[in-house]
């Protein structure tokens, strides 16, 4: 993938990366949205959706609590969705390789958020005297530059990830040795166990939670029986 081909994807990654924390936190950065949008950019929204669903199941494990460090799913979802949607249909290695690339991007992008926050703290230190005097200009400058840097951060991470992972995923798909159904099955097992573990971690203190879950499973089985 060339720089120019990756540019629209990087711009999408920038906007969705901005949503994670900075603006407007409407959860367009969630992988179920970001991957689907990236897939739609490539022309295969359904492929993007498939990656988005798998990443969403994994993302249930990470809650963006305050100062905690967590993977950044906005840019990662875009990378995963775009990579998978770019592969020929039915290639067995495409899904696991794209998900792996997205998870690596989420990890790197999460670290880039830490760097950004330190950068803003550095700028704050330099303009602290003015802000302590109540300078409107200094405050607006700090805030708007923070937002701009975050936008740039998302663009750079997405662009770098696309340029690195695009040929890598293509090469992996070309040399893939596992059968198609096993390739999907491994991804599903990983997503299911992470999602189940995440929901348990979050909701284990809710009264009778296991019964509600089993009730849901019962509804599913009932629907299947009548379908």
């Amino acid at each position: 993938m060339s720089f120019m081909e990756a540019l629209p994807i990087a711009l999408l990654g920038a906007v969705l990366g901005l949503d994670v924390v900075t603006f407007p936190q409407a959860m367009i950065a969630r992988p179920i949205v970001s991957s689907t949008l990236a897939g739609a950019f490539i022309g295969h929204s359904e492929s993007g959706l498939l990656v988005g669903v798998v990443l969403e199941l994994i993302a249930l494990d990470t809650l963006p609590f305050g100062a905690s460090r967590y993977p950044e799913w906005g840019s990662a979802g875009v990378v995963g969705g775009a990579l998978f949607a770019s592969q020929a249909k039915g290639m067995p290695g495409a899904l696991p390789a794209s998900i792996l690339a997205a998870l690596l991007t989420a990890m790197i992008s999460g670290s880039s958020m830490v760097i950004l926050r330190r950068l803003i703290a550095g700028r704050l230190e330099r303009s602290r005297a003015l802000i302590e005097e109540g300078s409107r200009d200094a405050l607006l400058s700090l805030h708007l530059s923070g937002m701009t840097f975050d936008l740039l951060r998302g663009a750079i991470v997405t662009m770098a990830a696309m340029l690195i992972f695009s040929p890598l995923v293509r090469a992996i798909v070309a040399t893939w040795g596992s059968e198609s159904e096993y390739s999907r099955a491994v991804v599903v097992v990983v997503a299911a166990m992470v999602a189940g573990g995440a929901l348990w971690k979050v909701f284990h203190s809710v009264r009778h939670v296991i019964w509600f879950f089993l009730g849901g499973v019962g509804i599913y089985l009932g629907l299947r029986a009548f379908a």
């Binding site: 900075t22 929204s45 498939l50 990890m107 805030h143 166990m193 009264r207 879950f213 849901g216």
Partner: protein, 256 residues
Amino acid sequence: MSGTPTQPFGLPFRVKLAMFVRMLAVQGSWNYETLLGTGIGFVMEPGLRFLPGGIDGPQYRAALARESRYFNAHPYLTGIAVGSLTRAELEGVDPARIERFRSALASPLGSVGDRLVWASWLPFCSVVALCVFGAGGSALAVVGTFLLLYNAGHLLLRAWGLHVGLARGLNVASALGNPVLRQGPQYIGSATALVAGVALPIALQRVVGPGRALVGGIIVAALIGLLILARLRERAEGWRIALGVLAVFVLYSILS
């Protein structure tokens, strides 16, 4: 959301709107020193212009400096702080009292918001969207359901917070006792578990696609993994385990 009777507070609608829009960017300068502090100053700024002397007055500058110091809260509930602090500043409340109020408000706004939004509403909306996917929904239906549902709660919470903060000023503590904030996580948690019971199997079934012959093996493997993760709780990060397992599998698949 209702509670103690509120007093109308006379800020023009356009100013409240400006504060609301700025609130969507309250974390724009989030950093490890002041956390949300400078963001709070940024959001309150349009309201503080109504202090005597306007933006050139000493009261405006003192208030802006005070409100830009360290603060922490859940971003969606910052409206409560922004509204009540703006009202307190405009009513000329003693700065020392404002500082004490700011310090006291930060922790509850953080913990209540984290429980209600990140640990309840967000997972609930995710599993509802997964359910739509599993039921065969198109990309537009899945994404549309998620965004509409999530943001209905998100925007309502932000707007309510700003309204209640402006209306009650420093008497806003009772708003945190609102049943939605106190009991919401419990009810949403139960609903999430119920929907997840349906959503997880049907969503995974659709992802599996051609490998349906392996469903039995998938369920057993997933259950074993789930039990291990559930037992480890906070000691294990699921996404890192996913990364490790997939890396090994990809390596195996290109070498085999």
